[in-house]
Structure formats: structure tokens, C-alpha cells
Amino acid sequence: MGNYFYNFGKWFLIKIDNFTSLNAYTILVLKIFFHKRKVTFKTSLRVLFKQILFTGVEALPLIGMVSLAIGGISIIQSLTFLPKFGGESLIGKLLVTVMVRELGPLLTGFIVMGRSGTAITAEIGNMVVSHEIQALEAMGIDPIRYLVIPRILGVTISLVSLNIYFIILSILGGFLVSKMVLVTSISIFLKKILESMVLSDITVNLLKGFIFGLLISVICTFEGFSVKLSSTEVPQRTTKAMVNVITALFIADGIITVIYYI
């Protein structure tokens, strides 16, 4: 029994230590982000564009496919049970609630985490092991400014943009299915959707995209820098980053939903 409490206490202290380190890291990143620099951001801009290309542009086909499918599936599922309760008129509202408020930001977040977040942790972890981070420091290049800030901006800008893209394509997916089943026109479909959508839906979607982008990039870069000596730590840290991001996204999603809708 005593051993159990000892192990629990040890686990708890490690969690507290990790959480404190993550907060200290976030504060450091913010401090460096808002610190004015005399010279150019040229080298960081190159990293930013590469990150947007990888996280945003190259994710378009996958997110497009998922959003079309989810939009269509939501309509199919709604059409199977809503008419039983006389709730056909709620299809638009349901699509907005599911796509814009909840599934859109979460699914996009998970896809970005799986594609880019893991890549960021593995890349930074490998850079630590091969002394590339120390080499940057030795050249007087702050790795937070050169590597982390462009990645945070790149992932966040991409995630907000991908959220908008997700909404548009999921509505299109929903329309294509509705067209097959209900023989409705795009104008009527869009009218119903827009009638169901309020400004707070869009605000929440963008806010979630922004916060999820920050969480993914901060946690994944932090875990990358947590690699110390060996390349075997890289996959371990990558897995840890994924678990922590999933937890963080659900907690943040819950908090934002509670604040806005309850």
C-alpha cells in the first residue's frame, strides 16, 4: 500500500514538474516573441513559409477529403432519424453545430497534430541529438526565435485557415448528399445553413483554430526540446506530445464550448 502511494506521489510530482516546465517554456517563447529585434526576420520567414507550406497547403487534399466525407455523412445520418421526429428543418442547424462548432476544429486539429505536430517534435528532437540546436546557439541564433516562433505562427495560421476550408468543404459535402436525396438547390441549402449560423459560431470556430494551433505547436516544440541525449528518446517524446496534445485539445474545446454556449 505504501509503495502504491509512493508511486502515485512520484507520478504526480513528475506531472507537476512537466506542467511547470511547459508553462515556463511558454512564457519564454512569449517573451522572445514580443522582444524587438534590430535585424531582419529573413531566416525565420523562410522557416515560416516552409511550415505553412507543409502544415497548411500540403494538408489540403487530406482535409478536403475528410471534410467532404464528414459533411456528407452528417447529412445522411440526420436524414435517417430527424424525419422520424419531424425535425427535417433542423438539418442545417445540426450541420452547423457539428461542423462549425465542434468537429471542424477538432478534426482539423487532430490531422494537423498527426501530420505536422509529430514531425515538429521528431525534427527538433533529432536536432538536439545531433547537436544542431547547440550549433545554432553557438552561432548566436536563438533556437526559439529561429525554430519555434515560425513553427507556432505557421501551425496557427494554417490551422485557422484549414478550419475555414473544412467548413466550406463539409457544407459542400452535405449539399452533394442532400442533392442526391432531397433534390434541393444550392441556394436553398446555403440559405438554410446561413440562417442556422450565427456570428458566435464563426467566432468560436476561429478561436478554437487559433488556440488549438498554439497548443499543438507549443506542446510539440516543447517535447522536441525535452529530448536530451539519445535518438531513442525521439519516438518516446513524439508519442508523449501526441497524448498531451489530444488531452489539451479536448480540455480547451470543453472550456471554450462551456464559456460560449452554456
Binding site: I32, H35, V39, T40, K42, T43, N126, M127, S130, H131, E132, Q134, A135, L136, E137, A138, M139, G140, I141, D142, Y146
Partner: protein, 269 residues
């Protein structure tokens, strides 16, 4: 000794309860080449990284040009590092940048001159290290020797006044070794450039160093002008020098063994 560019005060460091460095104090004179040597695992490379501020020691202070570098703000420390270079044992080139972009990186980041100026400067340095044909290759496509040369070139691009070398010639073939030595020796003549290197190679140290620091079992055993150390009749100093020579000989013997006995046995199996 003359004017000091770098000073270490009471440096002690441990890693996972194991002592790496024990109470080391040294002063590095400006414009000289100081070689730090000692048997494998004695803490030479850690001492070099602490001297450059890349590792924080558990105890002690490091002063560069009179500034305690661990008390500087993060921004001030990074600004100060523009003035010196660190050449890593494993080159540590940025793996997703070409050789050209690796060398151009510190220039772009700190000064952002026009691209034609960057091109002129980087091309000149690439020519000096004989890597013009490799300029568009990634580090993974280079040999270890070429990576070291590229790392050397990257270190020199900002014209530093203080250069740290971690085992500059280890793991290189004879031609690359000669190229590296031929690049280090002219720097030695410049009174504004201080070179601090860690090496196992006593021949190289005998031919190049002004001062020698001997580290043994995590302690600084001796630190003096090269002639004083090499002429010393102190039994401890002689013992350490012989250990270094033995280590070199063992490595050479192992290589020779692989090249002769073992290879020929394999061939006739």
C-alpha cells in the same frame, strides 16, 4: 600571461551523479592557441562547451571579455556569441540546409546583407575549404571530413575573435586533416584571434599550441606554455602525456589490425 579573453573560475560539473569536472580555474590569453588535452572521458569537451556558454556548470563562473556569461540576459548572450565560433566534433551542420545555406545562415540571421554579398563571401570561403562543388549538397551527402570543413567554414563566416574547436582533426583522413591544419595555422598568426582547442593528437598540439592544459580524472593537472609542459619532469605530467600517446597508439594499432590481420583472415576464410 597577457590580456585575457576568457576566464574560468572554480568550474565544477556533474552528470547523473558522476563528476565530470572538478573545480577548474583557467585564464585564456588573447591571440594565442590554447590546447586542452587529456585521456578519453576526462571532461575536455564538457569544459570547452562550458567555456562557450553552451552548458551551464553546476558551480563556477565563465567570463568572456570580462562579462560573466551566465549572468547575461538571453539576448545579450546570443549577441555576444556572434563574436565567437564553435566547431563541433561531429560538425553539427543544420541537416535540412545545403552546405551553402549552412554557411550563409549566421550572416543572414545577424546582418542580412544583400544576396550578392552573401554569395561573394560564402563562395570565397567555400573555395578556401575546397567545397565549391559540394555547395548545393545536404550534410548527409558529405563525408565526415567534408562536414568538418563545412562546419569550419560556417564558423569563420562572421570573422570571429574567439574560436573553440572540439577535436578538429579526429575522424578525418590525412588530406582533410592537412586542410584543417592549414586553415588553423594562419589564424594563429592573427593577434586578434584566440583559438581554444580540445585534441588528443599530441603531434598536432606540439606543432600548433602556445599553451597546453592537461586534464586528468576531471581535474586540471597542469596549464602552462607548451615548452614548459613538454619539458616538465613532473612524473604526473609525464604519466598523463604517456597515457595520451598510448591511447593514440592503441587506436592506430586497432586500425592496423583491422587492415592487416583481421581483413586477411576474412579474405582467406
Amino acid at each position: 600571461m597577457d590580456e585575457h579573453i576568457l576566464e574560468l573560475k572554480d568550474i565544477s560539473h556533474t552528470f547523473e551523479d558522476e563528476t565530470i569536472l572538478n573545480n577548474i580555474s583557467m585564464k585564456f590569453p588573447k591571440g594565442k592557441l590554447i590546447a586542452i588535452t587529456g585521456p578519453s572521458g576526462c571532461g575536455k569537451s564538457t569544459l570547452l562547451k562550458i567555456s562557450a556558454g553552451l552548458i551551464s556548470p553546476d558551480r563556477g563562473q565563465v567570463f568572456i571579455e570580462g562579462n560573466n556569461i551566465f549572468e547575461l540576459s538571453r539576448t545579450a548572450l546570443f549577441q555576444m556569441r556572434k563574436k565567437f565560433a564553435f566547431i563541433f566534433q561531429d560538425a553539427a551542420l543544420i541537416s535540412n540546409l545545403t552546405v551553402y545555406n549552412n554557411i550563409a545562415l549566421p550572416l543572414r540571421h545577424h546582418y542580412n546583407p544583400p544576396e550578392d554579398e552573401i554569395n561573394r563571401k560564402v563562395t570565397g570561403i567555400l573555395k578556401n575549404v575546397d567545397l565549391e562543388d559540394e555547395r548545393d549538397l545536404l550534410p548527409a551527402q558529405l563525408s565526415m571530413g567534408q562536414r568538418k570543413l563545412a562546419s569550419f567554414a560556417r564558423g569563420l563566416v562572421l570573422e570571429p575573435g574567439l574560436i573553440f574547436f572540439d577535436e578538429p582533426i579526429s575522424g578525418t583522413d590525412a588530406i582533410t586533416r592537412e586542410k584543417i591544419i592549414n586553415m588553423i595555422l594562419p589564424l594563429e598568426d592573427d593577434p586578434e584571434i584566440t583559438l581554444i582547442l580540445v585534441s588528443h593528437n599530441l603531434d598536432f598540439i606540439k606543432n600548433s599550441a602556445d599553451y597546453i592544459a592537461l586534464i586528468y580524472e576531471n581535474r586540471l593537472i597542469a596549464y602552462d606554455e607548451k615548452e614548459e609542459i613538454l619539458r616538465s619532469t613532473d612524473p604526473i605530467i609525464q604519466r598523463i602525456l604517456s597515457i595520451i600517446i598510448d591511447e593514440e597508439a592503441t587506436v592506430a594499432e586497432e586500425i592496423l589490425g583491422i587492415l592487416t590481420g583481421r581483413v586477411s583472415e576474412d579474405v582467406f576464410k
